[in-house]
């Protein structure tokens, strides 16, 4: 028993050599469904005043997030938190900053029904979608039946989101042994591990697989009031606890953090090293780490090329 356990550990330790894994080159996606979802993703009829689409806050051509501090929804209402990227979101263990949705299917109701985002309801969406012949035709092809349901709309969008993966980042290629990193990039990755960033930012999404407090080492912005983990768990210790965000395409998703307080990667590194690591990075270290982070930019999702 002990022996097998040890053997198991040894094997595991081999696999655990690199704590980051590359995005697979092929993800299984129901294409017709995803294409339908894609059309919906870009369609503003999913918002009360026809002003807002999913794309409004998730620029999937450039990082999948919003460059505004907070996103603007219907009637120019503002949200209360920085919009996280939708790219590679299928690899997140939970959705939303505070992880209140278990998966994308659960998550999507949030922005659609949120009065400051899409401000919609299932009936209105069904009514609107069913009026449009093109949708009727497309839904019939994908789902059969005459009436388009809200559940089908959700399902299609989720499938599209599942297709939003950005493979072939330089770092992924490195992990696969296809290329070498530059000296700076390599140095940055070592620092990333050595300084402990890796303890939270690991896995396929380099983050997105655990909760962590913003300011473990040194309290961060104690007086702020964001929808953090404590809103879910009612545990005061969970103040400022959020889902660890992905670092993939981090170069394109500024501003950073839930409060968009960091405008640049350098700022973000500064905040993180101070509050979560209790270290002070030297300039050349910051440069190296930024070089590393930039290797995490992936290719645009294939689905976006399909017309």
């Amino acid at each position: 028993m002990k022996k097998t356990f040890l053997l198991h550990l040894i094997i595991l330790s081999l696999y655990a050599a690199e704590p980051i894994s590359p995005i697979p080159l092929d993800v299984e996606v129901d294409l017709p469904k995803a294409n339908l979802g894609k059309k919906l993703f870009f369609d503003t009829i999913l918002s009360r005043d026809n002003s807002t689409s999913c794309f409004s806050c998730h620029n999937i051509y450039d990082g999948g997030a919003d460059s505004n501090i907070v996103s603007v929804g219907v009637k120019d209402k503002k949200g209360n938190i920085q919009s996280p990227t939708v790219l590679n979101s299928r690899y997140n263990f939970k959705q939303f900053w505070n992880g209140r949705a278990r998966d994308l299917g659960e998550q999507i109701h949030g922005p659609i029904q949120n009065p400051v985002e899409h401000d919609m309801d299932a009936e209105t969406i069904e009514m609107r979608i069913n009026k449009i012949d093109e949708y009727k035709k497309m839904f019939k092809e994908v789902y059969g039946g005459r009436h388009i349901t809200y559940a089908q709309v959700i399902d299609a969008i989720v499938e599209f989101e599942n297709a939003l993966v950005t493979p072939n980042a330089k770092f992924d290629k490195f992990l696969r042994g296809e290329i070498e990193l530059s000296k700076n990039e390599k140095e940055g990755y070592v620092l990333f591990k050595k300084n402990g960033c890796i303890t939270c930012h690991n896995g396929i999404n380099i983050g997105g697989n655990s909760f962590q407090k913003m300011g473990t080492f040194q309290e961060y912005n104690e007086d702020s009031d964001f929808p953090d983990r404590s809103k879910i768990t009612a545990n005061p210790d969970h103040k400022n606890v959020f889902k660890v965000p992905t670092l993939r395409n981090i170069n394109k998703t500024a501003p950073y953090f839930h409060d968009a307080s960091a405008k640049t990667l350098k700022d973000a590194l500064g905040v993180m090293s101070k509050h979560n690591l209790g270290i002070i990075l030297k300039d050349h270290e910051v440069e190296d780490m930024i070089a590393f982070l930039k290797t995490l930019d992936g290719e645009l999702p294939k689905i976006l090329d399909i017309k």
Partner: protein, 702 residues
């Protein structure tokens, strides 16, 4: 009736047990499936839990590692829990407790996951700080020379932190010596101290919750609770399995019961069937076989005859078999028949295409298919010989039988053979006879039918008429009397003589109409010819016919004048067996002046004893005597004797069939009073007005 009920019972049982089996199958399958699914789900959940522990262990070992697996693990733990809670089997009331226990697990599970997440959070920062500190101290090698104590202290503190983590014991760190301090004004040293202490403080602050969280995770009792739930579930399921077992046993019993019933039914059916077959066989046997002799019966014969292409029949009949029965009793008769049957059977057992039948009481038939007529005849002769030589020994009685055997192959087989046999019976000299068409044995049934038709028609059309034959007084040579003789006039005017129809009519229901017509018409004629006497023929049948008798008496009574001249001829060709009735009749007609005449005396049943009992007035001497008196002296003597006897008894004689002068003269010579016959005159439609004999036949030579 009982069988019917039994069958319904079995069918009912069958249907019930079939339904029960299907029901049981579904229930059992469902239950087993749900049971299996639940246990599977429970195990999956358990292993997800173990996996999570494994992940936690990993994360505690490695400074950093890929946490994706753990995230997945937590998610699947939650999923499995929900699946477990939704298990179909838990919807059953029996498992309420299991469900409750499982629901009770929810809080603990949620807490466990939270604890895990908290642990990860704390573990991450503690690990980071520890890594940081070890790097930090290592990089601060300037201390080795400048402030060795500080350097050593920092290592000591780090070691203790590491030990505390390994030991998970707060006692290693819970004191002030974990912070560095120095009086050195060296900026570098001070910076080192402040950075170090920052982390040290962080660790001091976070170790208690970290260790507590670790304890919480390790102290998690989900596994134990799951074990309890599993035990509880198995206990309850055992009850269900037992119930299923009992149900199966009952079902099995019902099945066996039904099977038993079916077997009983089947046996019963077999027995009934056997019985039925036996009955059928015996019925068939008794239908086609004679009970007494074991030979095949008449029915079998008829059936066989139809299927025989070239039939030839021997018909054997025991002569005077009735006498054997009468004298020795039926028992002996039966034994005789049995033995006879066995003789015949043995006789023909070796002959191809021959079958023996008992066709009647003492009548046996041997039917051949395709045999030469002569061969059959020879066989018959052989058989007759055998039987006639056979000594029947019965109850110490020794009997000899004679049989007559008719042989025939001409259709209709049985009828023709029978005719030949009947013919044979009248001939004591011949024992075996072959039927031939030229034997002329056939009674013409058709002719008889035609005659009956004629009789019917004649009665209807009043065509039964009397012809009158004159009776001459031989002394006076005058016609004194007419005998009314019955004639039947056909529609075409032809006249039928009585021998053509009278015998047949006697066997029909029309006879008394004929007598009646004769009485009435003769009466009319007698009225017309008061100078003559008349006579009518009355048979024994008439005498026994009370209605007719009354009619005759009434007529005589109503016509006293005619009655005086109307004589009754009693047909003596018939046996006057009922003497008393005959005498009563004689007395009653004599009362009205009728005279009674005994007809046909001298042949057949003629009996002198009649005269001692009956008051006969006249005797008619039979034609068979009268006709030949001129040639046959014996007949003449008989005539004389009868006449002298009659005279002695004070009775006159009439001689009939007088056909020539010689006879007439002889009769006159003997002294016979009256005569009739063609010599004097044929029967006429009407009597002659004159009583002169010459009017009748001018050739009469008196």
């Amino acid at each position: 009736m009982r069988l019917k009920r039994l069958i319904s019972l079995v069918i009912g049982l069958g249907i019930i047990s079939s339904i029960a089996i299907i029901y049981f199958y579904i229930i059992q399958k469902d239950f087993t499936k749900q049971h299996r699914e639940f246990l599977l789900s429970l195990n999956t959940f358990k292993s997800a839990h173990i996996d999570l522990e494994h992940q936690i262990l990993q994360s505690s070992i490695y400074s950093y590692h890929n946490q994706d697996e753990m995230a997945k693990n937590i998610s699947s733990l939650e999923n499995e829990y929900n699946i477990l809670l939704e298990s179909k089997i838990l919807k059953d009331k029996t498992y309420t407790k299991v469900k409750k226990d499982l629901q009770g697990l929810q809080k603990g599970l949620k807490q466990h996951i939270r604890n895990t997440q908290n642990y990860l959070m704390l573990n991450a920062s503690i690990k980071n700080s520890l890594v940081f500190l070890s790097n930090f101290i290592e990089e601060a090698n300037f201390l080795q020379e400048e402030n060795r104590d500080l350097f050593k202290d920092s290592w000591r503190i780090l070691k203790n932190f590491n030990d505390a983590k390994l030991m998970q014991d707060i006692d290693y760190i819970n004191h002030n010596s974990f912070l560095l301090s120095s009086n050195l004004k060296d900026e570098k040293a001070q910076n080192f101290i402040s950075s170090f202490n920052l982390h040290s403080n962080f660790l001091i602050k976070n170790y208690p919750p970290y260790i507590q969280t670790t304890k919480n995770i390790l102290g998690d009792n989900i596994k134990e609770k799951l074990e309890e739930i599993k035990k509880e579930f198995s206990k309850l399921a055992l009850g269900d399995f037992k119930a299923l077992d009992i149900f199966a046993s009952i079902l099995f019993s019902v099945f066996i019961f039904s099977l038993l019933f079916i077997i009983i039914l089947f046996l019963k059916y077999l027995r009934e069937n056997k019985k039925l077959q036996k009955t059928t066989a015996s019925l068939e046997y008794s239908l086609t076989h004679d009970h007494l002799t074991g030979l095949r019966s008449r029915a079998a014969f008829e059936e066989k005859l139809q299927g025989t292409a070239k039939p030839h029949l021997l018909l054997a009949n025991v002569d005077s078999f009735k006498c054997i029965n009468d004298i020795y009793g039926n028992d002996v008769g039966n034994i005789v028949l049995q033995e006879l049957a066995s003789i015949i059977k043995t006789e023909f057992s070796d002959i191809k295409n021959a079958s023996v039948y008992r066709l009647g009481g003492d009548e046996f038939g041997v039917l051949f298919d395709d045999i030469k007529s002569q061969d059959a005849f020879d066989l018959a002769i052989e058989l007759e010989k055998k039987i006639s030589e056979y000594n029947f020994l019965i109850y110490e009685l020794s009997l000899h039988l004679r049989v007559s055997i008719a042989s025939n192959f001409i259709a209709p087989i049985l009828e023709n053979t029978d005719l030949a046999l009947k013919h044979l019976k009248q001939d004591y000299t011949t024992r075996v006879l072959e039927y031939k068409e030229d034997l002329n044995l056939k009674t013409n049934v058709e002719e008889n039918m035609t005659i009956i038709e004629h009789i019917k028609l004649a009665i209807k059309n009043n065509n039964i008429i009397p012809y009158f034959q004159p009776i001459v007084n031989l002394k006076t040579n005058k016609i004194e009397k007419y005998e009314a003789l019955v004639r039947l006039r056909l529609t075409d005017g032809m006249i039928l003589e009585p021998f053509k129809f009278l015998e047949i009519s006697k066997k029909s229901s029309y006879y008394h109409y004929i007598t009646k017509a004769m009485i009435e018409k003769t009466l009319e004629m007698a009225k017309e010819f008061p100078q003559y006497r008349f006579s009518i023929n009355i048979s024994m049948i008439d005498i026994l016919d009370a209605k007719l008798l009354k009619m005759l008496c009434d007529t005589l009574k109503a016509n006293p004048e005619v009655a005086n001249r109307l004589d009754i001829e009693l047909l003596e060709s018939e046996n006057l067996q009922n003497i008393e009735a005959v005498q009563d009749f004689i007395s009653s007609v004599q009362k009205y002046g009728s005279k009674v005449l005994l007809d046909d005396f001298g042949t057949g049943y003629s009996n002198f004893s009649y005269f001692s009992n009956l008051d006969i007035d006249l005797i008619k001497i039979d034609g068979s005597i009268v006709r030949e008196i001129e040639k046959d002296k014996r007949k003449l003597h008989m005539l004389k004797s009868i006449h002298s006897f009659s005279n002695g008894m004070n009775m006159k004689n009439v001689a009939e069939f007088v056909e020539n002068k010689e006879v007439a003269d002889l009769l006159h010579e003997v002294g016979v009073e009256y005569a009739q016959g063609y010599y004097f005159g044929k029967p006429l439609e009407r009597p002659l007005d004159s009583d002169e004999v010459l009017k009748l036949n001018p050739l009469i030579n008196l």
